[in-house]
Amino acid sequence: MSHNDEKPHIIPYKTFLLVLLALLAFTFISIGVTSYNLGPLTVLIALLLATFKTILVLTYFMHLKYDVKMFAILVAAVLALIAVVIFITFLDYLFR
């Protein structure tokens, strides 16, 4: 299994710049939104925006979109595992 020559994929600078702009926009939106007191909704929005940002970083900066599919599947599996652990932990704490 020698795969060394199969990815001469060069990602243009413009892609990274656009991703950076989107990340900065999400950052300022989350700062703006959290300055209002919306109760539990604030937490939800802030975490949702952080998740969008993470997906952008994973997809473009970390090349998951252009790399072998296996990496994307593994990352999704690890994130799903973390989500399940968080869910089960809170099932315990919320219904104690």
Partner: protein
């Protein structure tokens, strides 16, 4: 090892990146554990966490967020530059990442110093007087941002080594997996901060 721009018989770039990703997964689980600890303590001490979070400076947190996001973009671009055989541009972009990474740490230094001056550090009398919730909040704050800062330092050393290898042509346009791995590590540090920033600074 001699310069091996074309010695690729024993190279497995995907295997190399796979190894980096496996390591990143262990890091994600480490920080996920800390985030869960934070969430549970926040849930159980929400009033204290609300008051304590107001102590943090949103401006310096936002500044460090912008710094990390920009540095992530430049290290990603340095790969593109190297692939296009633009070595100087690649080094400049990496140099930018290294420079602002250090600025991040300097900001962190001033931020922590200010907290220390106000008597806010793990085990301080001020903190004990404030109560259990504040002790938990600042304990987690110092531990998690401290562990993150340690990762910044490791990332800077990693990128520094890669920078040196690019100068010496040990990393070239057709053999740059080490630069990719350094980039992956730096982006991981970025992702962790993407969650630290709203959880500690924004949500009050």
């Amino acid at each position: 090892m001699a310069q091996q721009a074309h010695a690729d018989e024993h190279r497995d770039d995907i295997g190399s990146r796979f190894g980096m990703w496996l390591f990143i997964f262990t890091e994600l689980l480490l920080f996920a554990g800390l985030f869960i600890t934070y969430s549970v303590f926040r849930y159980k001490n929400w009033q204290a966490f609300h008051l304590a979070a107001e102590e943090l400076d949103v401006f310096i947190g936002a500044l460090n967020t912008v710094i990390l996001l920009a540095s992530s973009a430049t290290i990603a671009m340095s790969i593109t530059a190297l692939q296009q055989k633009r070595k100087i541009l690649s080094l400049s972009l990496m140099g930018f990442t290294l420079m602002v990474g250090i600025v991040f740490l300097v900001n962190k230094y001033f931020e922590w110093s200010l907290k220390f001056e106000h008597g806010l550090y793990p085990g301080s009398e001020t903190l004990v007087e404030l109560g259990k919730g504040e002790v938990l909040f600042f304990g987690l704050y110092f531990f998690m941002t401290g562990l993150h800062a340690l990762h910044i330092i490791i990332g800077l050393v990693f990128i520094g080594v890669v920078f040196n290898y690019v100068i010496k042509d040990k990393i070239t346009h057709d053999n740059f997996v080490l630069l990719e791995n350094a980039g992956l590590y730096w982006h991981l540090v970025d992702i962790i901060w993407i969650f630290l920033f709203p959880l500690f600074y924004l949500i009050t």
